[in-house]
């Protein structure tokens, strides 16, 4: 038996989480370094996955399969396709930066309490989330995926509710109340989504008699499994509802601004760049593959909801006064693009959507982490509290600008490629949706540039005077992300090579062909 690479990639952070939590209270710094080391080790394993993955090879590679709960028909089945391996790469890549960016976020304010170990807890929870997210990208068993999909809510919940901005002292009652409200809202929304999915998961088992993606696909292909139209649609809705809450899609999005606003910047990145990707990933892997007919049936409605997400998210981002909430609404707009790309049912759209998941992760991480550094300096999330930062802290302002430009999909930066693909892919099937969605780009330019103008340019505010520029640690976090944004913007081929074959397979699941070009050839 070969080395279980997929299990190892998830097991390493899981064990790391336990080890980190067990570090004695006084050895806070050791816990941080341990967590960072583990996350880098996970990145190495993810890189090995990328290298060993053969684009164009078998659909699921590096597979593992073990009996788990026979009575439920559940197997511990793992396998990655191109989409999964790309997102595992993204996750493993971002976690070290998240840990480094949050280096001081969980230092206890009072040092007298010896038993309360927030620092160890913070980094252990991040690693626990990483383990579950990675495993959920690898799971090819619906039940296994469901368990992880639900279980990852718990560490996320503690991360949001337990650790606020350093700016607000821990004794601040109002901030604590808001934070626990945000955490509870996050958990309840996602739990309700997950429980509805649970009903659908059980329903799927009753109908298909298996949880294995491979078995269900084979049964479908051989014709031994036939779902009644209405059953398939109901099951599809059960699954899609949970993923739409997680993604989040309008009108199920309202937990995201609260959660991202109240959480620390690194945790906010963890939510939007990593955890939410499980939702969009699951739409591609489970909704389309398990319920192709129902997916096609639901497409028009979903595309409309996605377009609303794009425009609504962008409009609300324009109106925000809080930097972190602004990024949250921008993310809602971007998730609209991703979902639209998935359900446009064209290979360009789906390739674009997958690239978008990766690129949005990197660009949001860059923007949000710099915003977090800025907020930690001033102690306020309000845009109006800033002004003229670029004169005081030029490097901070510069990196903030690049992150912002990536968010508005400036050509030359990575998100442009994916956004373009999504729009082209959508336009060839749903021209109207494509046209309206393009407005989202215009609005993105508005909210990013206005944000930059208000915070970074203009006269230097009194409170900003003497604000320190990015420190070495912070620069080490931001610089590689920006480098990656530029690299993937200029040369996205490595990523598209991995993603495209898998997208074609997904397309063949739903038996959709790309629409023929309508331009008449010149005679």
């Amino acid at each position: 038996m070969s080395f279980p690479l997929l299990t190892a990639t998830a097991a390493l952070p899981a064990l790391g989480a336990i080890a980190t939590a067990a570090v004695p209270a006084a050895r806070r710094t050791a816990a941080k370094w341990l967590a960072l080391l583990v996350s880098v080790g996970t990145l190495v394993l993810a890189a090995i996955q990328l290298v060993r993955f053969e684009p164009g090879g078998a659909r699921y590679q590096l597979t593992e399969s073990h009996a788990w709960i026979k009575d439920f028909g559940v197997r511990y089945e793992l396998g990655v396709d191109g989409i999964g391996v790309a997102l595992i790469g993204l996750t493993a890549l971002l976690i070290p930066f998240i840990i480094a960016a949050g280096w001081h976020d969980a230092d206890p304010l009072e040092t007298n309490s010896s038993r309360w170990r927030p620092t160890q807890g913070f980094f252990a929870l991040i690693l626990a989330v990483e383990a579950m997210v990675v495993l959920s990208f690898e799971a090819t068993d619906v039940f296994l995926f469901y368990i992880l999909f639900e279980a990852m809510l718990i560490p996320m919940y503690f991360l949001i509710g337990g650790f606020g901005d350093r700016a607000h002292a821990q004794g601040d009652e109002a901030a604590a109340t808001q934070r626990s409200y945000a955490a509870v809202k996050f958990l309840l929304y996602n739990l309700v989504g997950g429980l509805i999915m649970l009903a659908a998961v059980i329903g799927l088992y009753v109908v298909a008699g298996s949880f294995s993606l491979n078995e269900i696909a084979a049964a479908r292909a051989s014709g031994s499994l036939h779902m009644a139209t209405n059953t398939e649609r109901l099951l599809f809705l059960g699954f899609f509802f949970a993923f739409a809450v997680k993604a989040p899609l309008w009108p199920l999005h309202t937990w995201l601004p609260n959660a991202m606003g109240e959480a620390t910047a690194p945790v906010a990145v963890l939510i939007t760049a990593v955890v939410d990707k499980v939702g969009t990933f699951a739409m591609l892997r489970f909704c389309l593959q398990l319920f192709p007919e129902a997916s096609k049936w639901a497409t028009p409605v979903i595309v409309v909801l996605a377009v609303i997400s794009i425009i609504y998210g962008a409009l609300l981002a324009v109106g925000q006064r809080d930097i972190k909430r602004l990024v949250a609404y921008a993310s809602i707009s971007h998730f609209g693009f991703i979902i639209m790309g998935i359900f446009a049912m064209t290979s360009q759209g789906q390739s674009g959507a997958t690239l978008y998941m990766v690129n949005h992760g990197i660009s949001t991480a860059a923007l949000m982490l710099v915003a977090g550094f800025l907020i930690s300096r001033r102690g306020s999330r309000l845009i109006s509290d800033y002004g003229g930062v670029q004169k005081v802290a030029p490097v901070l302002a510069g990196t903030f600008l690049i992150g912002g430009l990536a968010t508005l999909s400036l050509p030359g930066l990575a998100p442009f490629v994916s956004e373009f693909l999504v729009l082209v892919g959508t336009f060839s099937r749903y021209p109207a949706a494509g046209i309206v969605a393009t407005l989202g780009i215009v609005l993105a330019a508005l909210y990013v540039l206005v944000l930059y103008q208000r915070t970074m340019t203009g006269p230097v505010k009194a409170e900003i005077q003497g604000m320190p520029d990015l420190k070495v640690r912070e620069l080490l976090v931001v610089a590689p992300l920006i480098g990656l944004l530029i690299f993937l913007g200029v040369y996205p081929k490595p990523l598209t090579d991995i993603v495209n074959p898998s997208v074609r397979q997904t397309m063949s699941d739903v038996q959709k062909k790309d629409p023929n070009p309508v331009v008449e050839a010149a005679k």
């Binding site: 026979k70 009575d71 368990i147 604590a176 649970l198 009903a199 059980i202 088992y205």
Partner: protein, 550 residues
């Protein structure tokens, strides 16, 4: 009565002619679990009478734990001997079934009881009174609260060691309850386990008036439900001419040959069957704590000494669901078209009612009481499945649930202030800051109650919902997940309180327990996580045990 109907221990003596009473044939070895516990309970009574006061506690704890362990060993021995599967049969002249579900539930009850007895025996939590360590029970049950005699008893360092034999009596009744194979045995078992529980409820050391009020309430309502049950038994006897499960089932399915001439007027009268069946169900649903027979649950759970609450919530539920399963699957499968709609309704209002009302609770014990009501609803969903998976999933759920419950109530005993246990929720604020480990353990139990994956609560919930869906009760599953979502809200609220709120200056302290409570909580956590991550072995066990002998 014809001889075919005479195969019950209860009717044999009454029917036989004087001087010709045949000695009943009793398979003592197969009844060993019950007999061991019952015998130990009797010895416990003698210990109370003859052993000096200062060493009673140790003798009683030792005796109780050994008896329960021996009974469990007997259950394992019987199961290993194949009595759960191939050799399953009806022992004691048709009175007691020795089969898979009975053995599985008896094993569960015994294990849960051992853990619960650990919490009974805990003597480190309350501060020492007059130089002697005390447990959660009244110094002297007979002394009036607040009276001089009570003070004298406290001063003398008395403890109510009678709780151990009482618990053993209750356990022996619970062991018979799910195994009872005729209606009279069912009734006697019910009384045998209920009466000691009424007493145990009244024995709290602190807040004695509340405890006694709870006991009276429990007793009165319990007596009502017993009366209903008994009346139902009488009506079913009128319908079938027998109290034996097998005969009643035969009459229901219309395959009975001999009609007793004395009962010819009523036998086969469907009105008797329907009313009688409904009344027996009522009695059982009362013990289970299903809406609308749940009114006693919150008051009794709150007033009873917390170790007793944990014991009651776990073991009583297991026993009562066992009896309910046997009744519905062995006696009344022929009329499932009649009882299924009713049970559907009961399950739905139980799930929703328990979950919704729990939201407004401010006392942790009442909250757990309503949560137990909601869980009763989930288990009922599995009961309704009427397939083999239904039985095995209910068995599994009961096993998983009882350990979470005992563990959770054991944690409740640890959080204390000057007035004893601090059960008001507001006092739990910030517990996670002060005692991270205790709060984390309690959070694990709450997450298991909420049915979060990787805990036993999820495995159990998945099992019953899957069985229900396969049994054609998809709508119940939908109601189930909705009420799970509602229930999740209040479990999470407690977690929020513990971890995200600032500790109050005059908040409660967490007592450091002895090894006994630590063991109880440890077992609870271990079972919760093992059944959550690797439930296969126990599912197999439940699966193999899921065939009722008829």
């Amino acid at each position: 009565m014809s001889s075919s109907a005479v195969h019950s221990l209860w009717t044999t003596a009454a029917e036989g002619k004087l001087g010709k009473i045949p000695a009943p044939h009793i398979e003592y070895a197969q009844l060993a679990p019950t007999l061991i516990v019952l015998g130990a309970a009797l010895i416990g009574v003698l210990v109370e009478a003859f052993v000096p006061r200062r060493s009673r506690y140790y003798v009683q704890v030792f005796l109780t734990v050994v008896a329960l362990a021996a009974a469990f060993a007997a259950v394992v021995g019987l199961a290993a001997g194949g009595y759960g599967t191939t050799k399953a049969h009806i022992a004691a002249m048709g009175a007691i079934a020795v089969d898979g579900p009975a053995l599985f539930l008896q094993g569960t009850i015994l294990l849960a009881s051992v853990v619960a007895v650990f919490t009974f025996a805990e003597r480190r939590l309350d501060p020492e009174a007059h130089g002697s360590r005390v447990d959660s029970f009244a110094a002297q049950a007979a002394s009036v609260p607040g009276s001089d005699s009570e003070q004298a008893a406290v001063k003398a360092g008395f403890t109510t060691t009678e709780v151990f034999p009482l618990a053993l009596f209750a356990v022996s009744g619970m062991l018979v309850f799910p195994a009872a194979n005729d209606l009279l045995t069912l009734f006697v078992a019910l009384e045998v386990f209920s009466l000691p529980l009424y007493l145990l409820c009244a024995l709290a050391r602190r807040k004695r008036l509340m405890s006694q009020e709870a006991a009276v309430k429990y007793f009165l309502l319990g007596a009502f439900s017993s009366a209903f049950l008994l009346f139902g038994i009488a009506l079913l006897y009128g319908y079938a001419g027998s109290v034996s499960y097998a005969t009643i089932a035969d009459v229901v399915s219309g395959s009975v040959q001999n009609v007793d001439p004395a009962l010819a007027g009523t036998m086969g009268n469907d009105a008797l069957l329907l009313i009688g069946g409904a009344m027996i169900l009522m009695g059982l649903l009362f013990k289970v704590g299903a809406v609308p027979f749940h009114m006693w649950t919150p008051d009794v759970y709150q007033g009873a000494p917390t170790p007793v609450t944990g014991f009651m919530a776990a073991a009583t539920k297991v026993a009562a669901f066992g009896a309910l399963l046997r009744l519905l699957y062995v006696v009344l499968p022929g009329m499932s078209w009649d009882w299924r709609p009713v049970m559907w309704g009961v399950a739905i209002i139980t799930m929703l009612g328990g979950a919704v009302v729990a939201i407004t609770q401010t006392d942790i014990k009442r909250l757990l009481a309503y949560s137990s009501i909601a869980h009763a609803g989930f288990i009922l969903a599995g009961v309704i499945a009427t397939n083999a998976d239904g039985i095995s999933s209910v068995l599994f759920y009961l096993g998983a649930y009882s350990f979470v419950t005992i563990g959770a109530f054991a944690v409740v005993t640890l959080v204390r202030d000057a007035g004893g246990e601090a059960t008001h929720l507001s006092k739990w604020a910030g517990l996670g800051r002060r005692s991270p480990l205790v709060a984390a353990v309690f959070a694990v139990f709450l997450l298991a109650f909420a049915g979060i994956p990787l805990t036993s609560g999820f495995s159990g919930k998945f099992a019953v919902f899957k069985a229900a869906a396969e049994g054609g009760a998809g709508a119940l599953v939908v109601v189930g997940v909705i009420s799970s979502a509602v229930a999740a809200f209040f479990y999470i609220r407690v977690i929020v309180l513990m971890f995200f709120s600032e500790p109050k200056a005059d908040g409660p302290t967490v007592a450091v327990p002895s090894a006994l409570t630590t063991a109880a909580i440890g077992v609870g956590v271990a079972v919760t996580l093992v059944l959550g991550v690797a439930p296969q072995y126990f599912l197999d066990l439940a699966h193999n045990a899921s065939v009722f002998v008829r």
